[in-house]
Amino acid sequence: MLYGNTGNVLRVDLGENTVATENPHPGLYQKWIGGAGLGTHYLISEVRPEITWDHPENRVILASGPMGGTRVPGSGMLSAVTRGPMTGGACSSQANGFFGAYLKLCGYDAVILQGISPAWVYLYVNDTEAELRDASNLLGLDTWEVQEALIKETGEKQLSVFSIGPAGENLVRFAILAGDKGHIASKNGLGAVLGNKRIKAVAVARGKRPVPVYDRDRLAKCAKEFMDNPTSVVSTIEKYGTGGFLPIADKTGRLPVKNYTTNLCDYVDRIDGPYLRSHFKLKRHPCYACNIRSHCHQITVTEGEYAGYTGDEPETESLALMGSNIGVSDAGAIVMMADLIDRLGMDVNECGWAVSWVIECYEKGFFTYEQTGGLELRWGNEKAVVELLHQIAHRSGFGAILSDGVKAAAEKMGGEAKNMAIYAEKGNSPRGHDHRAVWLEMLDTCTSSTGTIEASSGGTDTKPFGFGPVTDTFDWKQVATYLGKLNGQRNLLDCLGACRFTVDNNAVIPRALTALTGQELTPLDCLKVGKRITNALRVFNLRCGIKREADRPSVRYGSTPVDGPARGKALEPIWDDMVNLYYETMGWDPLTGRPSPETLKDLGLEYLID
């Protein structure tokens, strides 16, 4: 008997309008665990290099994991894997909420979407049926409105709805999949892939099928260990949300300010987590089985021009990107814009870099008032930004220039304007930080194969793996070897079906997996599964034509800070050496970044040797 997972995968052919249940070989679960692992398996098995992101044969795999739907805290996580438009390579992106748990409780580990529907549809799943339904009445609705409409339409009160907003319908290349009012799988244009397939939403009702667990008592003990030993990160989140990290970012030079033109911002204490939590009205909005009592909230602005606005409490990246990065100091405006971006269905990271780039261009005269169609795109003018965001999402007006992302827009402009844009050369968006002060995350973002940061996680305890953290953020040798040793840990977390904030404990994870599945695992066994994913996705991207040249930052992204806590520290002189050492530590060819045959064999990926 299979434990931890259900053994059922729902395959949906949108072109053929068919829905069928498959039973993967149990060995697949041992090899890939679930979630991002299962998704990676299907991606490399079924999406050949000639199948581009918008090809009917591209797949979108939405998966839970063995922890999904169990008493493990935060076990509603959804992992999404596809080939995405921003990099043209792999996408692995996660969202919390309820979806993963409900899917498991309906009796499925994953949903595979393939084909292109002739008309707009949504997928409805409960524990007795799964079918495609007409979505014509949902077109144009934002991601929150879709949730409300489908709860009303289905009559299901406990319904997890993940949908694309107008941006996804319009194939904005950084469109997202958003659900449960505030949870986002945001990377590499997942929403554009779904929009291309003409699927507006996936709605999963809470099922009643219990998850088969190998040893419930042992799992209960592990769940308690996860709860009793949260990472240091969680203690800050408990008090202030991830917005509590904003002042730390400011002090350590990782706060993005005005498109990396400076690192000085004199109003952080008016836009950070402590400010929001002490001034605005909060309503708890926890995910499935979450033990972090005070992370997710809906928030109502109580002061200023946007008083009365209710949305999702912004995470630290949203606060930075819609605040300091574009010169906005009104916390209410930031709440409103971050929420608007989610509802329109766009990645807040890419929006942030796109908007800050276009503002800097406008301020420096690269765009005129006439060219912007009357948008006065200056630092801090949130009203113009709001109009611009609508234009981007609808590919209308001046904003359409940004609908394929800042890299594409900058390359069209060329010259000095191109050099001002922040992106990784692969095309993916950095998260909302100034990584010039965190070389680990810069290296990770640029060499990642997932469409976002792939490996680094500041709070994780690597002692169970036998190595310690970086002690000098600018020691490139230390950074490269640490990242090479660590890469895989985060992909492992994304296999589990639970939030990385709640289960990021490398000592407990193996025990929990053993309790769930009966499979005996050590921390290094678990890390190896993550490394299997990392290497498989690397091969996938190489086959898609993404080469070493793409593993670097854009000119501005890799520039030297002119002021602030990391001022004067230049990355460019050591970049190539750092990448070489990272490749070497990963067991990759130092020149090409291709995983060596020995590395692939060691991971059980012989069939990926080209």
Partner: protein, 98 residues
């Protein structure tokens, strides 16, 4: 020589500084020539809970960052940087992306 310590986030209670706004500066008197690493070791001895985070097998753990005079410690000499009278040493948690 007296230096002022400020700790943020989960590091604060580890140094016995439970409340955020209603305490004065945490002043520590150290011999002239004390380095940042020696200060951290001194704090670890005085506050074992802090020491569990700050040190790992006797070495600086890398689980927190230090800012000195508004600049990252790495850029002003690293752990061997010698402190001056009146320095403000800011201890900050490492954080993960959101």
């Amino acid at each position: 020589m007296t230096v002022s310590i400020e700790a943020w986030g989960y590091l604060r209670p580890l140094l016995g500084r439970e409340k955020i706004n209603n305490e004065g500066p945490y002043l520590v008197t150290m011999p002239e020539g004390t380095s940042v690493e020696e200060l951290i070791r001194h704090l670890s001895e005085c506050h074992p809970a802090f020491g569990e985070v700050a040190l790992s097998e006797g070495q600086i753990s890398g689980k927190f960052q230090v800012v000195l005079r508004d600049i990252l410690l790495e850029l002003v000499g690293g752990w061997s940087r010698v402190l001056s009278d009146g320095d403000l040493v800011l201890l900050l948690p490492i954080f993960t992306d959101g």
